[in-house]
Symmetry: C2
Subunit: 176 residues, 2 copies
């Protein structure tokens, strides 16, 4: 699959996973894809923790409750720091989002499914902080997203999307 | 180049561009890559305007002053709307960042260079709003980024990055 095909093939997978483990070499390739993302003023505000220890996976899902990816044999936890890029401006959110998208594409390229799970752990009950504590993450890092990683046990599904001419134009708003 | 190679090959290119135009089919492929990105609760908050009209490119760089990509034969302007995903939460920034990363990778896959230019046009002087007005973009859309697109006239350069073991770990903070 080439890059454009990978981009089109990616979906948010919320089904069950096969129990087969993800080799460390594949997890490292996914991490490297995340770290290769651009960051505002090259501040590299994103850090990553891959989790493939079954006991740690259970511990993290005990914090979150069963949900997206709870049968996956591995996950990537995404950490961010609100580093100033220049003056009073931060780009940490853009930085981690680009890193996440790279990792989602790397998963697809390697035959895995995943899903960007952010809102559930960054809501007011701050599950991400409890997960971070379990992983020994200090207070200046926030755990804002996790990505399950594994082989799908069910078919993937594609959400309905608006037609292209409602979202993309040439040389002016709504122009084709 | 496969997907993992494309991800590693992407750099932020700030040099001069060759004057050769970008075919519409390539611009459409880049737009499709952007639209294929995930969005929080599938709100599809990102919209795109490709600019390849030389007069419009000149007009936009008159607003911004000469800078990154001012010799590029095309650009993609990225628009966002602050749509509520659920309760009081928005994910528009994550949405557009994932779309941008997809488009940067699509550029590399098609042999083009680009650069994520955001801070310069979203600073307090709000150049993005003036660009949006020039493109006929209504007030509920914000123009927050542009991506030049074209063939590089100069070598690409890779910024220094921290070693992997300072940013990515297994099963716990700073653990390998």
């Amino acid at each position: 699959m080439n890059t454009l095909e990978t981009i089109q093939a990616r979906t948010s997978y919320r089904g069950a996973y096969l129990p087969q483990p993800v080799p460390r070499a594949d997890l490292e390739a996914i991490l490297r894809a995340g770290l290769a993302a651009p960051s505002g003023c090259n501040k590299q505000s994103t850090s990553l923790i891959a989790v493939d220890d079954p006991a740690m996976l259970i511990a993290l899902f005990e914090i979150m409750g069963p949900g997206v990816g709870s049968t996956a044999p591995a996950m990537i936890c995404v950490l961010t720091r609100r580093i100033l890029a220049y003056r009073n401006r931060t780009f940490f959110m853009q930085d981690y989002s680009a890193a996440i998208e790279n990792m989602l594409l790397a998963c697809v390229a390697l035959g895995y499914e995943s899903c960007w799970v952010e809102g559930h752990i960054t809501d007011e009950d701050r599950l991400g902080r409890a997960m971070a504590d379990r992983l020994g993450v200090p207070a200046d890092y926030e755990l804002i997203c996790y990505l399950p990683v594994g082989r799908a046990a069910e078919p993937t599904r594609r959400p309905d999307k608006k037609p292209m001419d409602e979202r993309a134009w040439f040389n002016g708003f709504m122009k084709r």
